[in-house]
Every structure is written in C-alpha cells, then in structure tokens.
Amino acid sequence: MTIEPRYSAGIGAVVKPNATARPRPRPNRLRRREAWTGVVMALPWMLGFLLFTAGPMIFGLYAGLTRWDMISPPRWVGLQNFIRMFSGQDRHFYRSLGVTFRYVLISAPLHVVLGLLLAGMLNMKIKGTNFFRSVYYLPSILPIVASAVMWSWVFNPDFGLFNWALSLVGIRGPGWLTSPQWALPSMVIMNLHYIGPSMIILLAGLQRVPQELYEASQLDGASRWQSLRHITLPMLSPVIFFVIITNINSSFQTFTQAFLMTNGGPRYATYFYMLHLYNEAWGASRMGYASALAWVMFVIIVIFLVLHFRLGKLWVYQESD
C-alpha cells in the first residue's frame, strides 16, 4: 500500500534531503552567487552553534578536568573529578542519579500513555472536544514558578486541595511534599500538568492517519482492537517516538519545581541531579566538578537517545517510498 508523502511524519522524514533540491540548469555565476547568499544567510546560526553550543561543550570538557572556583585560575586535576564522582566520595552523586532515574522511568512512560489516552478520546467524533483540548492544554502554558507555587498549595497536607478531595471519599491523604515516600510521586503528578504539548502532537498524528485505511480494514472485517493494533499504532509510531525523545530530555533535566517546592528534600527524596549540579556550581563554587557532572549527565542522556533510536528501528513504522 502506498501512502501519500504528505502523511509522512517523524524521523524517517526529518533526515530526508530537502525537497526543493531539484536539478535546474543554471549558469555557474548565478549558482555561485546563490551559494554565497545561502552561506551568508545561514551564518548567524553557524556562528551561534560554534559560540553557544560546540564551543561551550569543548570548554566544559576542559573545565571538567580542572578545579575551578572562579576566583583563582583553574588548576588541572586530570580525571580526579570523575574519580570523586564514581568512587562515591561525593555521596550525593549516586543519590541524585537514583532520584532522577526513578523520576524519568516513571514520569516519561506515564506521559506517553496518558497523552495517548487523552489524544484518543479527543480524536473521537463527539461535540466539545475543542473545549476539552483547551482544558488539558491550559496548565502547560503556566510559568513553572507559578505552577510550583500552585502545587505546593494543592499538596498542603492539612489545607490543600488533594487531601480535601481524598477526605470526601474517606481517605486520609499522605503528607505529599513533606513525606519522603510521597515527595517524588508528587513531582510525577505535578509533571502530568505539562502533558499538553505531548497530547497535541499525538492528536495531530492521529488526525493524520488516512481514513481510507480504517474504511478498508472495516470492510475486511477487522475489529476495533485490530485496527488500533495494526493501523493506528504503526501510523502513530514516529510521533510516539518523537514524544519520548522530548520527555527523556526534559525529565532528566528537571530542576525548577524541585528547587522551589522541596529544595531536594525531605531527606533528599527529591534531590534531582540538576539540583546537585546547581549546588556544586553556584552554591559551592566548584565549577570544575560541576562541569564534570554536566558531562556525565550529557553522556547518559545521549546513551538513552542512541538506545531509543536503535530500538526505534524495531517498532517505528517507516513507509517505503
């Protein structure tokens, strides 16, 4: 079955060469001028890439091999920073890594599953889906600081909204952010408020599944479950793939909500990696060590992304055209 290219979305399509690169016989002089203009117009980003991405990355790697407090000049210490990290001398390294991993492994899949569920419901042909779409999206546009204040109040054990709602059905709610067991799950719950973009992207993906496929499968007597399994999910897989990437990236780098709501506590239950990095760099002025921490997290995320791309080959549907 061939599907028109306009339906294609996702990684397969991203790396495709530019569609406008059509062969066109033109005099050399004009072609050279076009090339020059092109390079000049793209120059800002290329310079920006060197100045604000590639340059800092390399500089950060160097800084990670030094001891640097920003007052005296950096002192070369070789791999000492990394040894301090992995040997457990820094007792917060593994702890914050553990907190972050637990958060990512719960929060990211939950985001995808709930996002799919909401997108699926909003894709039904019923009235009022526009209204619900806005309701679900609205919290995502709130400033994270405002959201942190809001959730601190909602999670208040004695006067907060959650425990009041639970008391209506006769449940005595936990201490949420004040409880070492519940503080991290509270962060996961709060993060669900930021599901809007994932949901909308998945919904756009659903709406781009060609109706003919469903009609054809119905004629062939496929059940709803079969058409979900064999049409919807494969057609949606590139979008799901993309949503997972953004979730891995953002949840590994969680900072603001933990910084404002719990400052890592209680008893380090929400001491995220980024919080540790921040405290090392801007609290303790250990810029060298913090740079090493940053590089380690960078490598971890890249490993996750590479694994994701590798595994993606097994389940992401790529149409052949």
């Binding site: 919290p139 204040v149 009041w164 809007g196 909308i200 780098q253």
Partner: protein, 295 residues
C-alpha cells in the same frame, strides 16, 4: 439481523462510547482545571478564610484589594519592566534571525547545506545541561552577569527549533512567486523581504508565541545571571516572595499569614500567559503542530 437493526446497534454502541468518553474527559479534566480555580479562589480570600477545612470555594466578599496589596509587597513594577525587556528584545532576534536562516535552508542551494541542517536537528534534541556552566563562565568573564546581555546576544544568532519550524513552513509554500520575481531581476534580499516574509505571517506568529512563553517563563537563566534587586524578573520576584512568605527554602509546611497575597501575585503573573493562550489558541493547539510535523 436486518440491516436497520444492525445499524441501530452500531449507533447505540457509538452513543454509549460517546457518553463514556464524556464521563472520562470530565473526570480527567478536573485535576487539570480545579487546582487553577483553587489558586484564584485563594487569591480572593481574606486572611482568615485561607486555612479552613473544608475549603471556602467562593469567598464573599471577594477581596480584589489583595492584588494591589500583593503588588506592593516587592517592587513588582520594576520586575515587570525587566521581564518585558528580557522577553521582547530577544524575541525579535528569535523571530527574524531564525527566519533569515530558515530561508537559506529551505530555498537556497549551497555546498554542505544538508550536513549543516542535520547538525541543527541534532542540536534540537541535545541536552542543554552541558552548556550551562561553560557559558556562564564565559559570560561572567565578559562581565555580563547582572546585565541583560546573556539573554539578548544569543537570541540574535537564531534558535534551532524556530529555524526548523520556519523551514518546514517555507517548504510548503509554493515557490512560483519567488521564481517569477527572480526572473524579473529581483535579488534574494528583495525576494525575502517583499515576498517570503509577508507569506510567513502565521509561522512568524507561532515562533513569536513560543519565544514569548519560553522567555517570559524562564527561571533558571535569570536566576544565575540577574542578582541585583533592580534587575530581577517577575519569575524571580515570585520565587522570592514565595520563600519569604513561607519562610523556608522549600514549602514543606507552607503555612503563611500572607498565602492569599502569594496566590494573588501568582495569578497576576500567570495571567498574561493565560490571556495569550485564549487569544492565540489555534497557534498552540493546531497550526504549530501541523506546521512542525508536515515533514
């Protein structure tokens, strides 16, 4: 089973499915919207109505004076000006420089273009964590701490995601007009400003909204670069007010005599985003995504 009764049973099935979907949509929707109402309701309470169980939902009479009172707790007027500066000046760079770069990727042919573009795609998913500290060290060396330059300067080199979005949009524009103008002897600068930019309207608006949200809501950047009190942004002011009102670094107990004022200022600071969302909804929930994903 006759055809009509078969159709009826399908209809009934759909009706039941629809009703179930409504129930679920409402149930799921409650936790998305009620916390917001809870904050607004608290913002309108008098101090004595705040710590009450069960909560007062409609405070009578609503204390609208809370907003003015909260605004006066810290120099929020100054913070507002700073937020406007760190939002709008970079936003112009985000929008127009990104558009220029995007045009080059979408329409002009030059050696290495596709390679550079895949580099751009890679930076889109590259974790930013690795550049925070080195960038800070360099900006600190340049004496840019306690200035707005760390926000303004990088914006005028274009943003990868914005460039990507605009390029996708341009690829979907018919290029007949541009060809015709070129045959008539127009140069690239003329084509870009007179033909392409006007056609880009919706895409530029999308980028402007994205840029506004990212910069207005930013907390980490202002926190590490803006220390002097008269340079702080609204987000820093709000965080400062929170730690002051609750008296702790974190909000464990979260008891404060000024909680209603904290909620009032939170409402005010979130308001521009909510209004923007209501007015430009289609850019958030429709056009943005379809333009980004029409690959």
């Amino acid at each position: 089973m006759t055809t009509s009764s078969w159709q009826q049973s399908i209809k009934l099935q759909n009706a039941i499915g629809g009703a179930a979907a409504y129930v679920l949509l409402v149930l799921f929707g409650l936790p998305f919207i009620v916390p917001l109402l809870f904050v607004i309701s608290t913002a309108l309470k008098s101090a004595s109505q705040v710590y009450v169980n069960p909560p007062v939902w409609v405070p009578l009479p609503p204390q609208f004076s809370n907003f003015a009172q909260a605004w006066a707790v810290a120099p929020f007027g100054r913070f507002l000006v700073n937020s406007l500066i760190t939002t709008f000046i970079p936003m112009i760079g985000d929008v127009f420089v990104s558009a220029i770069v995007a045009y080059s990727f979408a329409r002009l042919r030059w050696p290495g273009r596709d390679l550079v573009f895949s580099l751009l795609l890679a930076t889109m998913i590259m974790p930013g964590i690795v550049t925070f500290i080195p960038t800070f060290i360099v900006f600190a060396r340049l004496n840019w701490v306690n200035t707005f330059l760390p926000f303004i300067v990088p914006a005028y080199f274009g943003g990868a995601f914005y460039i990507f979005l605009l390029r996708q949009f341009m690829l979907n524009l018919p290029d007949g007009l541009e060809e015709a103008a070129r045959i008539d002897g127009a140069n690239t600068a003329q084509i870009f400003t007179r033909i392409v930019l006007p056609l880009l309207g919706p895409a530029l608006a999308t980028v402007a909204i994205f840029s506004f949200m990212a910069r207005w809501n930013d907390f980490f950047g202002p926190m590490i670069y803006l220390h002097s009190p008269n340079l702080k942004t609204l987000m820093l002011g709000l965080a400062f007010f929170e730690s002051m009102a609750t008296g702790t670094g974190g909000s464990y107990g979260f008891l404060s005599a000024r909680l209603h004022l904290l909620m009032a200022i939170t409402t005010l600071i979130a308001l521009p985003c909510v209004l923007l969302f209501i007015v430009f909804q289609k850019y958030f929930v429709r056009d943005v995504i379809t333009s980004g994903f029409k690959l």
